[in-house]
Symmetry: C2
Subunit: 404 residues, 2 copies
Amino acid sequence: MARIVQKFGGTSVGDIARIRNVANRVKAEIDRGNEVAVVVSAMSGVTNQLVAYCNELSADHDQREYDAVVATGEQVTSGLLAIALQGLGIQARSWSGWQIPIISDDAHGKARIVDIKGDEIDKSMKAGHVAVIAGFQGIGPDNRVSTLGRGGSDTTAVAVAAAIKADRCDIYTDVDGVYTTDPRIVKSARKVDKISYEEMLEMASLGAKVLQTRSVEMAMKHRVRVQVLSSFSDAPGTLVCDEDEIVEKELVTGIAYSRDEAKVTLIGVSDQPGIAAGVFGPLSAANINVDMIVQNTSQDGTTDITFTTTRTDLDRALKVVKESIKVPYKSIGSDKSVVKVSVIGVGMRSHAGVAQTMFKALADKGINIQVISTSEIKVSVLIAEEYTELALRALHTAYGLDAA
Amino acid sequence: MARIVQKFGGTSVGDIARIRNVANRVKAEIDRGNEVAVVVSAMSGVTNQLVAYCNELSADHDQREYDAVVATGEQVTSGLLAIALQGLGIQARSWSGWQIPIISDDAHGKARIVDIKGDEIDKSMKAGHVAVIAGFQGIGPDNRVSTLGRGGSDTTAVAVAAAIKADRCDIYTDVDGVYTTDPRIVKSARKVDKISYEEMLEMASLGAKVLQTRSVEMAMKHRVRVQVLSSFSDAPGTLVCDEDEIVEKELVTGIAYSRDEAKVTLIGVSDQPGIAAGVFGPLSAANINVDMIVQNTSQDGTTDITFTTTRTDLDRALKVVKESIKVPYKSIGSDKSVVKVSVIGVGMRSHAGVAQTMFKALADKGINIQVISTSEIKVSVLIAEEYTELALRALHTAYGLDAA
């Protein structure tokens, strides 16, 4: 007997018929002899409606009240799914975040889970009850309901799995797994059977919107095996697991891209000690997230500095640079028509030449690389947005990822 | 400075514009220098939708899950109203039943409030925060959310008023007070300025759907002064208060009626000791509520027994009589076309002839009285339903209640 956490998103529980469908999926897992806890999102559309109410009343509403309002969506689904399960003859009970409790910090609206007391759920499950848990929420140190930010139900599921020592956490979604790259762009993209936490983290944070980044971090920290699979098919999904569990390691596991990128270039910055701190200090103080940074070698006592940020932050970033940066520079330029493309794979650790394959494949297609950034398991480049599809297809082929 | 509890029903908070309107009403009370706690219902339609979901999944769903689902409606409204109040520059915070806590018994779906810990709310109010409380709910001994049954928000408001020692509990509704009788039927009906708890209890339980019966019982028990008034006008409402506070006592304060009545007659019951117990024991065991009972004087060793029950219970009552009653009888008859009309007034205690005025007024209009039942402050009669309007108008005039 294994202990499984199943998580179903808003589309999967979008109406009563679909909630019944989910109940049947839970039953199938029980019929296989497993113990099950389920984490659910709000019925699709509900959260948006509740958020709209809050915004209509006040643009800068109290996040604590926002949380009290919005967290109800998941509470409704958990009660309804418990009723649906009981209708199939399965013992079940619903749990709100505060009942378990799922203890969070007090950053209302985007709280982080601090601790989950798994004892009550564990006891209830051992007594034969399926635990149906409202996702996306917890209770803060102020004894008030908190929410984890959009997509937080994934994190709830992983955290619950860690707390009750589950053998696996199955995240049901509207795609059937993690792909080598976006299958809407590259027809030959393949589903990945297994992917390591580190790789998934890069995939998730680089724009592959399958799992919330924080949920992958949590899975990695607590070594929770996570499976991503479709709630509308019976095909096996992608297992996110420890690197050691993956026998056949690919050199490159996947290719991710992010369009939410903007580039800022400071030209003719006087080259003196402390200029990087002088430029990025004020940006950091303004809470602007800077991603890639390039500083060219100095010529004539000046240098150029290029950095990227998100498109939403670009205007604020330019304002900060113009108003707060004390370092002298000649001119400033910006570009929103850029995309970041990354090749990811734990195999890179032990193999040289991975970056070179990327640079050559892009050069062969005449794609200019504007910025390069690397980490132990990824190489990212910034290119003009118009080349996105061409670059993804070229790289997918170059790394031998195309389906046979 | 007075401490006021305000309660707003589903229609009053039916959309965002109306929630803003309620916020303005709360502000007006604060501007008068008062401390305010607010109890809110779910936005109109929301509870029905949630109940429909539960019913669609299972006709005999788990009441604990029903409570978890349905109680969210009030939680949403409380958060939204807190946001609306903050938008007017008023400090406010929302409270769910479990946060206060409002402790109930474990009769999920129709729980009774056992205790309210007023300390936390009291502290928050003393710190200058309006308490916005989700009505209709509590937390049971099983640490799960409970609901008080439809209309339970009135009870929440009165119980909160008792717990925080409020000077008055204002129940805002879609009528502007308690009337001498139904103004849709009797054009000359007048709004009553003050009514005693005992009278209001009779009016409420006899079908004047202004306040939930249980809320009046609770107000009487804790001596909470309750005002019923309209959320859509500024007119003063009706104060439900201690009899001693009413200086000008009317002989009859109001005339109530209930169409939810059905009559059952057992003819030719053998007259022997224990027949009443033999008839009503099985009905009581089947949880059928019997209201009026008449047993005629015995003739020829047999007697007739008539009783009333609700129309919804009639079929079950007939089944119980036919199957379970051991007392021999000749035949059984039933009638759903009856109505109970009652005159109510604490003045009756000290005045004779009140019933006689009723009997004469009805006789003058040729209305036959089928059953009579009296208590210290009311006289009820069962008549054919077709005479309802005629009877109400005749009695209203006979007791001098018509507007001048």
